[in-house]
């Protein structure tokens, strides 16, 4: 009987001690905000394009943290899906929206002589990468454009094109076997 009592007391006190330790730890080392959302947001490409069905990258990050699929981000492509899968320990899935063509970086370009200065694209741009004023010609700051194509639809005159970013000498990736061969006139 006494043995049993001792065992119970020992177990009970152990439970108490661990309980206190855990309780203390949960207060002392409390994590203020769910950092997983921040981490997911870090991985997302921040194009704010809304192609995932959420108004921006942060909301999608929240949704992923709440269990939404990780394969809804076309601008990020497979690389982002892989990173998310790594972070969250989920299965890598193919992109849900099999969108047209391969992943080429694009930026918006406004054909300036056709622009009527309606400011609709400025309002649509999630990152304020379009400058211009009412009835003034608009233009895209190519460096800031995320290629989300949200400005294309609102344009009443369809003067916005999404152009593929051309490689330059500076951005060339040393793809030795993929050098575009140009035909140059010998007399030129």
């Amino acid at each position: 009987m006494t043995t049993l009592m001792f065992a119970l007391i020992a177990l009970g006190s152990l439970a108490l001690i661990f309980g206190l330790a855990l309780g203390y730890a949960s207060i002392r080392f409390k994590v203020d905000e769910d950092p997983i959302v921040e981490q997911i947001d870090q991985i997302l490409p921040q194009t704010q394009c809304g192609q995932c069905g959420y108004p921006g990258c942060k909301p999608y990050a929240k949704a992923i943290a709440d269990g939404d699929d990780i394969n809804k981000c076309p601008p990020g492509g497979d690389a982002t899906i892989k990173k998310l899968a790594d972070l969250l320990g989920r299965e890598v899935k193919p992109l849900n929206d099999a969108h047209d063509g391969p992943d080429i970086k694009r930026v918006a370009y406004i054909r300036e002589d056709e622009c009527i200065g309606c400011t609709k694209c400025i309002q649509a741009c999630p990152v304020d990468a379009i400058v211009g004023a009412t009835r003034q010609m608009h233009t895209v700051i190519a460096d800031e454009c995320t290629g989300c194509d949200l400005c294309v639809a609102p344009c009443p005159v369809d003067c916005i094109d999404m152009l593929a970013v051309q490689p330059t000498v500076q951005t060339w990736q040393w793809q030795m076997q993929a050098i575009p061969v140009t035909v140059v006139d010998a007399n030129d």
Binding site: W174, M176, Q177, I179, V181
Partner: protein
């Protein structure tokens, strides 16, 4: 136009040249071995090298690679040659074949082929046999002069392929020395004798010992040392691994010998017995399964040397080079990780 990247000039020593050079440098050792132990190892070398080459070619075909071109890198041949040198001369042929197939198919290609194997294929094959057939694998022939039976080529072939010589002697009978006792290698003899309480000096007077180490074995080791030095001279291998291994083995055995002069083998005996020199210059230096950093190679070599000493002195087997190499292979990643050289410009702030 097929554009190439710099550099446009390259030194001429290619992988297959390296492998061929290593094989050629084995030749002095092989000849000495044949002189002292008969034709047995020549047969084993041919058998093992042939099996390795065929296995590699077969696997290459299975993996849809051009078999002839890929096997031309000589790496499978080298594995076979080393295996053939390492096994006892009159090992039944099927054991050699098993080891060779295992070395190439399992140890090398199941890990991804050349460049990807974790373990030294020849030594892994050797250890497979050593664990599976310990008696056969430790049944070394007595040195020619001591042997009761002198075996010709035909006898040797019969012995390897049928188990009996042309005169009908079994392997165990053939192994009889002129004294009528089954031969043991010098290391085996020392180990057994010391175990039985004899002193080293008492043991060393036995006929199996030569002038400073085992009779015949000392010359064998010297021959491999010569071949190895040539490899170092030609920059096919670097100093680090053999240097590390020999120094470490010497230091360990010297300490042991100093502490207990009667109870342990002398440094000389360690350095020139068994597979020490073969291991140091030809086996441990297998680039794929060894360390790649300079410091790491010294550590790797030293580890092998220490392990060889430990196994020879306290282990269950008379020689320990194969085990030591495999154990060190396991540590390669760790050693490499901690022996990264300091990159230019990354000096600690002084």
């Amino acid at each position: 136009m097929n554009l190439l990247s710099s550099p446009f000039t390259r030194q001429s020593l290619k992988t297959h040249d390296l492998m061929r050079m290593v094989i050629l440098c084995c030749i002095p050792g092989i000849l000495v071995q044949a002189y002292f132990f008969g034709y047995g190892n020549l047969i084993q070398i041919a058998l093992a090298a042939g099996t390795c080459w065929l296995t590699e070619a077969a696997i290459m075909i299975m993996r849809n690679r051009p078999a002839l071109r890929v096997t031309a890198d000589n790496s499978a041949l080298l594995t076979g040659v080393l295996l053939g040198i390492a096994v006892p001369p009159f090992l039944p042929w099927w054991m050699t074949v098993i080891a060779a197939v295992f070395a190439i198919a399992v140890v090398k290609h199941l890990y991804g082929g050349i460049g990807n194997n974790l373990f030294n294929p020849a030594m892994a094959g050797y250890v497979l046999l050593l664990i599976s057939f310990p008696v056969a694998m430790t049944s070394w022939q007595p040195v020619g002069a001591l042997a009761h039976h002198q075996l010709g080529l035909w006898d040797s072939l019969q012995l390897v392929f049928t188990g009996f010589s042309a005169d009908g002697f079994s392997l165990q009978q053939v192994r009889m020395t002129i004294d009528g006792i089954a031969a043991a290698t010098p290391l085996d003899t020392v180990k057994t004798d010391l175990h039985q309480g004899l002193t080293l000096d008492e043991s060393m007077v036995k006929p199996v010992f030569g002038s400073f180490a085992g009779a015949g074995w000392e010359w064998l080791n010297l021959a491999f040392l010569a071949g190895g030095l040539y490899l170092v001279y030609r920059r096919v291998i670097t100093w680090a691994i053999p240097g590390g291994m020999l120094i470490s083995l010497f230091v360990c055995s010297a300490i042991g010998f100093a502490l207990q002069p009667d109870g342990t083998a002398s440094p000389m005996l360690h350095l020139f017995s068994g597979a020490t020199m073969l291991g140091a210059f030809f086996i441990a230096t297998d680039p794929v399964s060894a360390c790649t950093t300079v410091r790491g190679r010294w550590i790797f070599g030293a580890l092998i040397g220490a392990l060889v000493y430990v196994i020879r002195t306290w282990g269950g087997y008379p020689d320990g080079v194969a085990f030591a190499v495999l154990l060190a292979n396991m540590c390669v990643v760790l050693i490499d990780h901690y022996s990264k050289p300091r990159t230019y410009g990354h000096k600690e702030a002084s």
